[in-house]
Amino acid sequence: MNKETVILITENNPDHLELIKQGLRHAGLHNEILLFVNHGEILDFLFVKGDGPKRKPNTEYLLILNVDSNSIDGIQILEKIKQDNELKKIPVIILTDNDEQKTIEECNNLGCSTYIVKPTEKRDFEEIVQKLGCFLSVIEITSIK
């Protein structure tokens, strides 16, 4: 991806968010990162609704989405994105504490690009994100109208 690609992150754990940002930076990615704590905000942003920030046309986006074990919000966001003819081109990486096979099947069926279970160790967390970042640096992404 190029340096104009915007990385969208939904993550409500501040420690994890910091580790994700650090890991990406250590992978050499200095892209703009937009954080969404509330799941409604990310949908408003992508579907250009509401009063909050909205996405820009002709921009490349990538989404790192948390799918909490105790909420179906994350899965619904993935579903809405992948049902939209334009937004479905955004690669969605699930980064979650949910290791249930049922959720893994569901997210892959809906069209997530990758499903990653968060490690418990802080050091492993950063390493995983760094390796993810190194991979992302060698892929092509397409812009959203």
Binding site: K88, E105, G111, S113, T114
Partner: protein, 151 residues
């Protein structure tokens, strides 16, 4: 990535296949790798045509898919996989020399997970595949199981 993962590689260029295999291995990928020399071979395997090798319900699969291949090209293969309600769960990573913007767009529209352009430079190619390998070996990566009855 858990141990029981199979990496499917559809690649008609023998040199590229060796380079991909070697660099995945260098980045500690210890999964089984199955090579398909054209698009038809990989479709025969996935859709259980009479090939003698079959999808295993207890394994997770990832497909690295070239675009320009004889018989059936990568776009057709991607389309057929993503139209199938079970096979669509397989993550497909395009790995190709084609960097045309329209091709990238089309593949994401059809549902590929990622689109990777093979660098022309040998060392950059090796590095890119090693990055891919490290990513595929991530401890936390989880794959769906594909339950494919008779086609």
């Amino acid at each position: 990535m858990k141990k029981n993962v199979v990496i499917l590689i559809a690649e008609d260029n023998a040199g590229h296949f060796q380079l991909i295999k070697k660099n995945l291995w260098l980045s500690c990928v210890d999964s089984d790798i199955i090579l398909f020399k054209d698009g038809q071979e990989v479709l025969d395997f996935l859709f259980k045509a009479d090939t003698g090798v079959y999808l295993d319900d207890n394994k997770g699969y990832i497909l690295l898919l070239d675009i320009r291949m004889p018989k059936v090209n990568g776009i057709e293969v991607l389309k057929k996989i993503k139209e199938d309600k079970e096979l669509r769960k397989i993550p497909v990573i395009m790995l190709t020399t084609t960097s045309e913007t329209n091709m990238v767009k089309q593949c994401y529209e059809l549902g590929c997970s990622y689109y990777m352009v093979k660098p022309v430079n040998y060392h950059l190619f090796m590095q890119a595949v090693q990055n891919l390998g490290e990513f595929l070996s991530l401890e936390g990566m989880r794959l769906p199981f594909i339950k494919k009855g008779c086609a």
